[in-house]
């Protein structure tokens, strides 16, 4: 069931976030060490195909069979940038997060990410996540997982795949809108017939 899958994804991401939080849990050295170990295993799973510990963690989360690969990818991506948002901030969806990075670099990467074939998306998302880690920007992995699941299951040029990529592009520009385009600019094109 869709709802069930959705709930399972939420629970999975919540567990990932808890792993991230455990990295900074003071006075719980054993928990911190476990978290660090698991995240290292997950991180390695991005480059090495068979990582027993990563797979153990994955199957504990009870993923739907058709989503296993994507869950493992997202777990690895989270392990790359597990930091939590700063106080008062929130995790940003991919497009908006990329916007927060220096514009020249992020726009080029965003263009690449939007252009690539579905089987190359993982590589470019990984680069994007590394870029975000460098700028200490917390990514919303919940929406990233939803999007990647859609991209992995929808036919390459389908409306669903297009919607995901458009959502990333829109989020990227929505951030611009609030910062660059003043309302007056928007209304300057002459609206009356």
């Amino acid at each position: 069931m869709v709802t069930d899958d959705h709930d399972r994804r939420r629970a999975f991401i919540s567990n990932l976030y808890q792993l991230g939080d455990a990295l900074h849990s003071h006075g719980h050295d054993a928990r911190t060490a476990d978290a660090r170990k698991t995240l290292a295993q997950l991180r390695r799973s991005l480059t090495r195909e068979y990582q027993p510990a990563a797979l153990d963690f994955l199957f504990e989360q009870n993923p739907p069979a058709r989503e296993e690969e994507t869950w493992l990818l997202v777990a690895g991506l989270f392990a790359l940038a597990p930091s939590s948002p700063n106080h008062g901030e929130r995790r940003l969806p991919l497009g908006a997060a990329m916007r927060k990075v220096d514009q020249g670099a992020s726009e080029a990467r965003m263009r690449q990410l939007l252009s690539v074939a579905p089987n190359s998306v993982a590589h470019y998302v990984r680069q994007a996540v590394q870029l975000l880690r460098g700028h200490n920007i917390a990514l919303n992995f919940e929406s990233l997982l939803d999007d990647l699941v859609t991209l992995s299951s929808a036919p390459p040029n389908s409306r669903l795949a297009h919607q995901v990529r458009m959502k990333w592009a829109r989020d990227f520009h929505r951030a611009i809108d609030s910062s660059v385009h003043a309302d007056t600019d928007d209304r300057s094109g002459g609206a009356s017939a």
Binding site: H173, D177, D183
Partner: protein
Amino acid sequence: MAFDLLDEHWVPVVGEDRNPEEVGLAEAFTRAHELRWVEGEAPVVTAAVYRLLLALAHRVYGPDSGKSWHALWDAPCFPDGPLLEYRSRFFDRFDLFGARPFLQCPGLPREKMGSAAQLVLNRSVGNNATLFDQTTAGDRPELDAAVAARWLVTVHAFDPGGLKTPYRSDKSSERALCNFFGTVVVEGATLKDTLLLNMPVYAPGRGKPNPTRPDDCPQWELDTPPSPEPDKERRPPRGWTDLLTWPSRRILLQESRHNGRSTVNGVVITPGTRLRTELADAELMAAFRQRMTKTKHGLFPAGPKYPVVLEELRGVWRHCRELLLPAPPANPRQRPRVLDHVAEYAPDDEVYSLRVFGQQLDPKGGAVQTWFQETVPAPVALLRVNDTDDRVEQLLGYAVGLADDIGAALQWLERLYDEALAAERAHARRRSTLSQWYWPELPAPFGTVLRDLGVVLQNAQTAGSVSQAALFAPFEWWKETVRRVANAAVRTWAWQLPRESGRQLLALADAESRFQSRLGGLCRDYDIDLDRCRDEDEDNGD
């Protein structure tokens, strides 16, 4: 061989069972109460046949007073007596091929006879290249007499301008009358209702409808057929039926007979009579509007009155104020004058349809580009809206303005996208496509607004005052509808675009995001306008 248009079947109608059939002119009246409407092979044919039927109906039935109109309206069918009497007087004027051929000029030389295809406006003849018709200059098609009769009437009303075969030397002709405006027909449940709804009081002796003179009559009643010489000097119409059958061209059909059946295998069409009149003063089946000019005393209508015409994409519903609302003095609009008696005589709770017919010519005015036929609901309560209650006009204006502004914003969105990708699209042919998913979706919901408004106004007549919440509700619904339609149009448009590269997707998202911002602003402005209208109402109430 005779082809008597009173008896031969050539008027295209839709019967009670909704099946198309053809009837003679006499039968069109005797069975008008059971026939539904006229439906020609093209919108222009329908409009032209309606005008001919109205001219004949006026001459046969008048009605010469409001009382006569009510008597006809209340009668189950058109009475036979006046038709028989008229027929006995003009029995010889309705033959398509007789010595006095119907709406033709027998004095035209037969050696100038050309292809019968000239008669059919969408046929490819000479320079009139059309997209789908495969007729070539060498073809000599033969038209069935019924078809030829319909197009004969249509050519008088809708023939494009340009050079024609000259009678002697004058080749130039003005486009025929109905090319200048959208022809409005108020449609009722039956053909009888429709004819009466479009028949104001007709009393030439008393100058009704203005400016009708006592000598007004349609072409076929004149003692002599028109001279083959074109009337370049222009003349004013004698009255309403003269205008309804205006002889824009001199035409002569050539009959051919096959197995006892008449066909038309040739036609001469030469320049005809030019009209000299202020169209807004004479034409009853068209709406007009005037420009507003700013003076130190305020805004006032000034300059010529422009007829409402149909456009290729944006519907005629945008002119709902010009088409439906009564115009108090110093108002820049004028609804079709046939609606004035509908507003006065028709039952309160009726909702009629305005069918609007039009023809668009190419930029030179010499060839048909497209035909239009649109429908706008016309609740009688709205036709009667109190002149002093200008809120209805304001609200309709805001509603149309919102659709126009959002339409312009959609064009702006397309421009933004094109500019962002100017380099890679430099060689691509730029064609505006977004509007095609927006404008055609709006006539139906706007019809709902008009019908709902009619119900509100009718209830107000019973209750004695308009419920403010009910009055504004259709316009609030309209805002949400237009917003939804615009967003759906953008989604469809975006889906058609190339979306392989990230640059394209980012350009699209950027343009779309800015459009959303503007859309929100336009909807907020609309809300402010509605609120101002509400406030004025409360102030007046205080």
